[in-house]
Amino acid sequence: MDTERPLAPPPTVVLDARGRTLARQLGEVWAYRELLYFLAWRDFKVRYKQTVLGAAWAILQPVLTMVVFSVFFGFLARVPSDGLPYPVFAYTALLPWALFAHALAESANSLVNNPTLVTKVYVPRLIIPIAPLFVGLVDFGVASLALIALMVGYGVTPGPALLAAPLFVALAVLTAFAVGVWLAALNVQYRDVRYTIPFLIQLWLFATPVAYPASLLPEPWRTLYGLNPMAGVVEGFRWALLGRGAGGSAALVSLSVVAVLALLVGGLRYFARAERSFADLA
């Protein structure tokens, strides 16, 4: 059996105190892309093991949140909704939000949750916070069915902007990764992070126009709201599906994209530096 040889000539590995550069780590992630797939698949397979409702959870959580929001914000508090039926308005935002919140929490805890992948074997560490980002997409797909039902029920039809929706989904995942990669690295050294994550996500929800529209804010604040990348994601997704809202503003969305890229570059550089001591701390 073991007669076949790897196709490429054997690489030379050099290990010293300087560790691996970010470029080398990104190259290793590409070389280990199959592992990325297997880890994502493991998380997916294990996700709803030993639950009664299984994947129904993916639809129940955002739907129940939508109902609560509709009763308290839409019906009782009369929060405006850009002229849209409030349940559709809220659910359209809750979909990308749930994707983001789940991906962020899993990514931020990924290194701490997989200690043996850090201390017992060498795999490119950057893969570990990337793998959990994709599991949420399955939930997202399932929960989208409820959105379709709502839109049909309220007679809302999307326009050609619908084609832009995947871009905002991608931006949500990228935002989760940009923040997750910071928190994952910090989490290894400071376990306080673990307890901060649920709190952070909760605060961020209220800082994002999920239950209310960004149009409540006057300019220039409305555009500057884009500095919160999730404002760009949520308003953009709403605009793509429902054709209304601040997401139609290119300035707000561009600001969100710039903010995410800045966070991401900073996060990757911090991670690449912190990675050297992960095994000593994890």
Partner: protein, 419 residues
Amino acid sequence: MTRASEPVIRVEGLSKRYRIGERVARYRTLRESLTGALRRPFGRRAADGADLVWALRDVSFEVPRGEILGVIGRNGAGKSTLLKVLSGITCPTEGTVRIHGRVVSLLEVGTGFHPELTGRENVYLNGAILGMRRAEMDRRFDDIVAFAQVERFVDTPVKHYSSGMYFRLAFAVAAHLSPEVVLVDEVLAVGDAEFQRKCLGKMGEAARQARTVLFVSHNMGAISAFCHRVVYLANGQVRAIGTPDAIVAQYLADVFGDDRTDLAELRGAGYGRTLRFTAIDLAADDGANVAFGAPLRFRVTLRSDVSAQELSLGASVFSVTGTCVGTLFTRERFAMAPGEARTFSLTLAGARLAPGSYYASVSVGHGGRDGGRLDFDLVVGRPAFHVLPMSPSGEAIADWNPAWGAIVFEDTRLQAEPG
């Protein structure tokens, strides 16, 4: 591939420093960091040097292609740290490691195994973690499952596996990789004897395919049987490097046979307060060597501060892996008077210890094998001795495989049943 003359692994001036408590406390809380920064706003955390410890200090060696290099040393000598640095798991503090070729490190088998996943799923996941391509896994999957003898349970979640099945499957994945360099930590210490032998055989096969293996173990038998060369680490430094026989002998001599070592360092905690051994030696013509089948003779000197009656000696023999091979309690009883010192000769014949290295523990106390035993003194690690693969009459016994155990059963008879 690469030039044959070039070493596959080159380690130069390798050092690794830990902050004390880093591995114990493991992580800090943010508050500790903040208060630390407030107390010493201008000081660098690690600058004072007092809380630093060098796990490796200026280690250099080279491993040529196809060599199996053993790494031995006491606990805390730096063996595991060396493996972690070579694996790329942790960064060296100083020095450089150069490795030509794909490396697989087996510090643990079954890394990433998930109990809810089936055997098949875990094989693929674990293979990917160890850097194997999916296409390679597809080709080897049947071999892996056959090697692990879990064909019937491939699609059962591994949480329903017995621990033996789990280990066999995990090891089988590792054994079927084809990297140029394999780094192995004592994973072979687990599993049943037959499977261990299979694994060791697989390692030998790996070396025949010009694969380079670095093998860390406490099992001197396995080290001697499989390694071409051995590195002996002590206090993070290379103490010796050379042939297995010479280095293992030196290591055992240092650990157990060091005559300068005070017996107090080998004494069990709390023993030897009123009655104690002052000398324990092997009575042999040939240093610490005993011919196969020859009786073992220990010479012990006892000193007592008190009066004690009905005393007996106990002794156990351990293989170098730390497994107790057997125990004796003397039938003869003796007494000690206050201030008295006496020397005894203890002979053990007919033990048929297999060729290899051993050490003994010796105790003095009341009672014996038919009930409780109360010891006054207990010393572990002295004397240490080697049983030579040569009987007193000069007859050599065949290469004894360490996996066959420590006793050679000799008084056996095979008869055909009348049929």
